[in-house]
Symmetry: C2
Subunit: 555 residues, 2 copies
């Protein structure tokens, strides 16, 4: 029996699992929280200045230290002999980036830059680069840049280019001192193996690398953004790319010692955390949609060919699994839209009751609701619309209020709205000629909110296959590790794609639950969806009320 | 010095004021709550059955008993010599009706009918006659009845005809035993004076009496509603009509003794409670709008000629004050729309904090908000739209939600929505060629919510003259009493209209507060109102989303 380690680097902690490469069975696992967590207030140094709002940083040393603890803990829990562990796969939050120096050490690690916020890791949810994202969007639109079409026409403030541009603008010294800007997952691979290659997935989805267009955006475009930014891609994103499931290298002496593993352990190229969920759910073919349902929603699909239809958020060949074009769509609001209602129920932070209690009470209250029973229909754009309409200036709405409308009614209407939002995304694929034959879901929501999942099945009119395994992404990462090991065993010219798919099929976990649609409800939802769609199109395509209101909003 | 008594019959109690006919100064007052209050559960008799939902009844004996207590108490408090009290004026909630027998006694007073709900008073908010109102609306529309145009095309379930038709349908014996159906105000006048005439105001606004069309709806129309209803108007609404401010008679021996007043005391024809607020505010000319702001809103205006424009709720010559055409518009939601938000803040009846506390906390929170600062705009149709669009199937809406939208934001947006709703009503008058030059407000809201009143001034872009006197309607009633006395003194042929206006001017109270618009805010509100109006027209005139959603609502 051979084993692979999957490392799932989340926002607060890293999880390690040790999985059998034969069955996918998890022999042991361990979680280790980052010492500094998310740094939003002050840097962990003496006399640190207060960070500007919307900053969300991390300390890269935390990743290494927590990784050591998690891996050694998982090995211990598993009772697996170390020799049987052949590989490591990594998934990481994205876009989470850091500047590194010539020695590949993080800038913030040296005493010279440790007091400078821009020397630290910018976590995915660092939103302070919004002005830079706005600039990129305006310029790309103005210049009709081809690359932006591969991102649904919109650059998020969370991505590589706005974040790096912010460093250039706000801390020129840090920017110049950085030999590279690198994803967290690639930093781990580099620390483990010394290999300088990056993962192709994050480059494609978060850093404008479009293989079909020859790579990163042109120096001309970057120069037009800022003359000093002209050589950013050429100089600071120079390393080669490798696909998840292919080997990046084996452990350095130092890394092997630190983790207690053999130096021959093969390390796969990293991937984005949500993307590891796709093999983690056992998906290895096109036409199957994976939905990661948490605070927000992430929809992933694969297809044989690229179609630049309106409304996806990212598209890359080999972007999810080798051999397919991987599509990503994002629903900005899911769990947080329900939190929006639950918060009112709790008394907006006045601590009347805790959060899970509020969700529990509200979903119990609506458990036996019929479709549309609240009399309200909501638009789920409380933080904009990230797919289909790709418009960040859109906002939420509720229509159908009466004096009797309760918070339970609003909760139900918002659950339906989230499901309608996903149906609109599914429809955008189908309309583009990309069939969606089977829908899988995982993440925090399916676990916590069974009422919501039934509404999803009813609204989508199709069974939802749910896995509630907490280690699903880590398992997906372990699969990539196992495939990379097999590829390295078989040497160059091996059929990487075939190996990967065989590995996924072998290691695929059982699906816990199948939520089947209630046919009667599904029929009613066809009608209600039509009402939703009319609102959706009215406010999303015709009327500019929401945009006009933003002008008055006090943000 | 002479005095007039104003009797203001409200939902829970009657208020008596004794006012100087020279200055309007109130010498004394007293309130007396009705013993049985609003009867919604069971009749106050042994072994009563449970009332159906939406029933709201009262016991007519309560009116008499409370009136005696209030009048005697007010006299005592005032120290006014009884001989100086020359008149009584009455205002009453409407449409509040009861069936009476041959002796003018309420049916429910005799032992024969005391166990039958339909023998009791149907209070204005008795909403159980909705099916009958629906029937009347459908038939009037189908037959293109001219009379319904004088009511904005819509009959409310609160009015005389649906309520009487409900009695016919549900308790034929009661219906047949009733020699008349009579308004509460007219019942009091009859009890006081023995006079059989009714007040023209309630007949016009609540019972389809259109002088210009020769009176009540035709027997043909009533027969088409129900063959047994054919003679309803002819038989059971047969008494003549008299205007408020003209004498109905003097006190009977019994009444004089019961109230401790002289038999010569002149009693004016009654009026509707809200209408008494118009003279109560000191209004006695056209182009001045009175808004009674409470749970719902009532807008009253006077004009020289009748214009059947789209969107008023009632129109009658002499309907408010003698000599003018009186218009009424209603805004279904005002205080209750704010309650809708405050309720969520309180925790929907879980008693986290009390109601006034919730309104206080929320209006304090938004006190310094700029126009539109919530980023949201709401439609104030939580209980339908009773003016301008005249559509009961419309519902409320909020557009512009984000994850940060708080209940305070929603409260502010709803305050703005109420003010926008009033602006739409004002605009409907102006567009019809009826200028609105000055706006007065009274009622519970101006008293309790100064933040709302400032928003009203800013949204309407004009000063709002506010009286917060609790006895404003009672004072208006006393004015009608005083005018009736003067008319009876001067005998037939006296210039009733001139006398009434002179009386109002003399007795008009001081306006407590003038709320002046903030010019900067008013300018911003011009823009926001335009956004409101677009939503208003979209959902109110074009799109039928709200109506479609009602089909799914669980009421």
């Amino acid at each position: 029996m051979e084993y692979s380690i999957g490392l799932d680097f989340g926002t607060e902690s890293v999880r390690a699992v040790i999985a059998s490469t034969l069955s996918g069975e998890v022999a042991g696992s361990e979680i280790s929280a980052y010492k500094h967590g998310v740094i939003e207030d002050r840097l962990p140094v003496k006399n640190s200045i207060r960070l500007a709002s919307d900053f969300a940083l991390q300390h890269p040393r935390d990743y290494i230290e927590s990784m050591k603890i998690a891996v050694r803990g998982a090995i211990k829990n598993s009772n697996v002999e170390v020799d049987r562990i052949k590989s490591i796969g990594i998934d990481f939050t994205a876009c989470t980036i850091l500047p590194i120096g010539k020695d590949s050490n993080p800038l913030c690690a040296g005493s010279k830059y440790k007091d400078r916020p821009h020397a630290y890791v910018k976590l995915w949810k660092h939103h302070a680069a919004q002005p830079e994202a706005d600039e990129i969007n305006a310029l790309a639109a103005e210049r009709k840049e081809e690359f932006i079409r591969w991102y649904g026409g919109l650059c998020s403030s969370e991505w590589m280019f706005p974040k790096a541009l912010q460093v250039l603008r706000e801390d020129r010294k840090c920017y110049d001192a950085a030999t590279e800007f690198i994803e967290g997952g690639d930093y781990i691979v580099r620390w483990l193996t010394g290999s300088k290659s990056r993962n192709a997935t994050a480059a494609a989805y978060k850093a404008f690398f479009v293989a079909e267009l020859g790579g990163y955006p042109s120096a001309k475009f970057l120069k037009a953004l800022d003359p000093k930014f002209e050589n950013f891609a050429r100089e600071k994103l120079s390393a080669g790319l490798g696909a998840s499931g292919t080997p990046a290298g084996t452990l350095t002496k130092e890394a092997a010692r630190a983790l207690g593993l053999s130096r021959e352990t093969v390390v796969s190229h990293a991937t984005i955390d949500a993307h590891a969920g796709v093999p983690g759910l056992g998906i290895c073919s096109k036409s199957e949609m994976a939905i990661i349902m948490g605070t927000s929603g992430c929809h992933m699909m694969m297809s044989d060919s690229p179609v630049l239809f309106d409304g996806f958020a990212g598209l890359a060949k080999d972007g999810i699994l080798l051999g397919y074009h991987g599509y990503e769509s994002g629903q900005s609001g899911m769990g947080d839209v329900l939190d929006f209602v639950a918060e009112k129920y709790r008394g907006e932070g006045r601590g009347a009751r805790d959060e899970s209690d509020a969700h529990g009470a509200l979903s119990t209250a609506v458990r036996d609701y019929l479709p549309g029973q609240s009399g309200c229909v909501a638009l789920d754009w409380h933080s904009g619309c990230r797919s289909v309409l790709m418009n960040a200036s859109l906002t939420g709405a509720v229509v159908g209020l009466t004096l009797k409308t309760s918070l339970a009614d609003l909760y139900h209407a918002h659950m339906e709205a989230i499901a309608f939002g996903t149906r609109a995304i599914v429809r955008s694929y189908v309309n583009a000629g990309i069939p969606v034959k089977k829908i899988f879901a995982c993440g925090g929501l399916p676990e916590k909110n069974p009422v919501l999942m039934q509404i999803f099945a009813d609204v989508l009119g199709t069974p939802i296959y749910v896995s509630s395994a907490a280690n699903l992404c880590a398992l997906g990462a372990a699969m990539f590790g196992a495939a990379a090991y097999r590829v390295s065993e078989q040497g160059e010219g091996s059929r990487e794609q075939e190996i990967l798919y065989r590995t996924i099929r072998r290691m695929a976990p059982k699906i816990d639950r199948t939520i089947r649609p209630n046919k009667k409800n599904a029929k009613v939802y066809d009608e209600l969806y039509e009402i939703y769609l009319r609102l959706h199109d009215h406010f999303g395509r015709g009327d500019d009320t929401m945009k006009r209101l933003n002008k008055f909003r006090n943000c």
